[in-house]
Amino acid sequence: MTIPRVQVGRVIGLLEVLQDFEGKVDLAKVADELRLELDDILPAVDAAKLLRLLQVNTGDLILTEDGKMLLSKNASGRKRMLNNTLASLGEFKGVIDFIKSDHNGEVTKDELVRFLKENMPDVDSEQTFSWIVEWGRYSLLLRYDSGSEKIKITHKGAGLKE
C-alpha cells in the first residue's frame, strides 16, 4: 500500500522524537518514552518509511537526509516537499492520475471510492478515501469539499505553476 494511513501530525511528531535522539533510536525505546504501544507507533513508522523520511534497521529507527531536511523547513516548505514525494508514490500517483483524467480535474467521492474498490480490492476504500483527503489536503495536491463531495486536483497537483 503506497498511501499513508496515519495522520500527518503523527508522522512529523515521530520524526521530531527521532531528532531528539540525534536521529537514531530503538523503536521499543520510543514506545516506552511516549508510553505508547508498538501498534500505536507502527502506522507512523510505516508512513514515514514510505515517504522516505526514515529507515528501519534491526529495530532502530533512523532519520534519513530527507527526514532531516523536512524538519528544517517551515510549514509551507514541508508541504511542498511532501507533495513531490506523494505524487511519486505508485498508488497515490494512480489516484492523482485518475482525478486528472477528468477534463475538469474533479471527481465525486463516489467515483473515487469506486476507483479504489476496483484497483485496491484488499483495502477499505472509504477509509483509504479519507487518508487520500488528509494527505492530499496537507500536501496541497488535492482539495475536497465535503458539502458537494467533490475532490479536485489543485494547480500543484496538476503539475502546473500557480
Binding site: 501530525g9 500505536d40 508541504k79 496537507y138 500536501s139 475536497y144
Partner: protein, 257 residues
C-alpha cells in the same frame, strides 16, 4: 532571559481570590491571594494538581470570570470586562462543527471593525502560518485532533493578541501529535515577527512546562495559592531529554505532590 526584571508589565494579578457559592455561607474557595505579573517576552506556565483552579485563573486574567476579591490589571489599567488583547486556546478545541476551518478561524475576528475582505485576508494569512493551508474548506469532523487544535490556535492568533492564553492545549492529543504541535508553538513563539508578546499556559504536564517556559508558577491544591515560582534559564532550543531539564522536572514535581 536575564533582563526579565526590566521588561514591561503586561498583566498583573493583585491578591486575586475566587470562591464559588456565597461568601457569607460556606464558600468553596478555589483561588486565594494570587499575585503575579506577566511581562513582555515571557512564556509562563501554571502547573498544579487537578482542581487547583489553574483554568479558572486563566479565565480571570482574560476577564471572563470575575474574582471575589483582588484585581487584574492590563497595562496598569484595571480589567472590568473581557480584555480583547488576550485570546484563549482551549483543551477541547471548542470549534463549531457547522463551520469549516475558515469560518471557525474567522470567529476570532468577531467584533473587530475590519472589512470583510480584510478579515478574509487575515484569516488566510494565519491559516498559512499555522500550517492549515489546504484544509480551508474542511469541517472539524474531517480533522484529526492535531489539526483541530491548529484551528483553535489560528482562531486565537488571527486577532494578533498581545497575550495568548492556553488551557491544557496539548493534553487531548496523542503523544506523537502533541510532540509535533509543541514544536510548532515554540517555533511560532521564537518568531519575533509574530504576536503574541507573552504566553500563559496552564498544564498538568511538568515536563511540558519546563520544556516550553521561561517561568513556572506552581499552585497548591484547593484553595490554589502560589507555592513557588521558578525561572527556567535553559537556553533554547532545549533538549527535552537533558539532565538539567530532568532535574528541574523532579524539583517542580516535588512542589506539587
Amino acid at each position: 532571559m536575564t533582563t526579565q526584571i526590566e521588561m514591561p508589565k503586561l498583566v498583573e494579578l493583585r491578591n486575586v481570590t475566587k470562591a464559588y457559592g456565597s461568601m457569607t455561607q460556606r464558600p468553596q474557595v478555589v483561588l486565594e491571594h494570587i499575585n503575579f505579573t506577566v511581562r513582555q517576552h515571557e512564556f509562563i506556565s501554571i502547573v498544579g494538581p487537578s482542581g487547583c483552579g489553574k483554568s479558572t485563573l486563566l479565565r480571570i486574567m482574560m476577564g471572563l470570570v470575575k474574582p471575589e476579591d483582588g484585581e487584574v490589571y492590563y497595562h496598569d489599567k484595571k480589567i472590568s470586562s473581557i480584555c480583547d488583547a488576550m485570546s484563549m486556546v482551549f483543551q477541547t478545541f471548542a470549534l463549531f462543527p457547522w463551520l469549516n476551518v475558515v469560518g471557525n478561524v474567522e470567529l476570532g475576528l468577531e467584533g473587530k471593525s475590519f472589512s470583510k475582505e480584510e478579515k478574509r485576508k487575515r484569516v488566510l494569512d494565519i491559516v498559512k502560518v499555522i500550517g492549515l493551508e489546504g484544509y480551508e474548506e474542511a469541517y472539524p469532523r474531517e480533522l484529526s485532533g492535531g489539526m483541530k487544535q491548529r484551528v483553535g490556535l489560528a482562531r486565537a492568533m488571527v486577532s494578533e493578541p498581545e497575550i495568548l492564553l492556553m488551557d491544557e492545549p496539548f493534553s487531548a492529543l496523542d503523544p506523537l501529535t502533541s510532540t509535533h504541535l509543541r514544536e510548532e508553538v515554540l517555533h511560532l513563539w521564537a518568531d519575533p515577527a509574530l504576536p503574541p508578546e507573552a504566553v500563559v499556559m496552564v498544564t498538568h504536564n511538568v515536563d511540558e512546562a519546563v520544556y516550553m517556559s521561561d517561568r513556572i508558577i506552581v499552585l497548591t491544591s484547593r484553595p490554589g495559592t502560589i507555592a513557588k515560582e521558578i525561572h527556567i534559564d535553559l537556553p533554547r532550543p532545549r533538549d527535552p531529554r537533558s539532565s538539567e531539564l530532568y532535574k528541574l522536572v523532579d524539583e517542580i514535581t516535588g512542589f506539587i505532590v
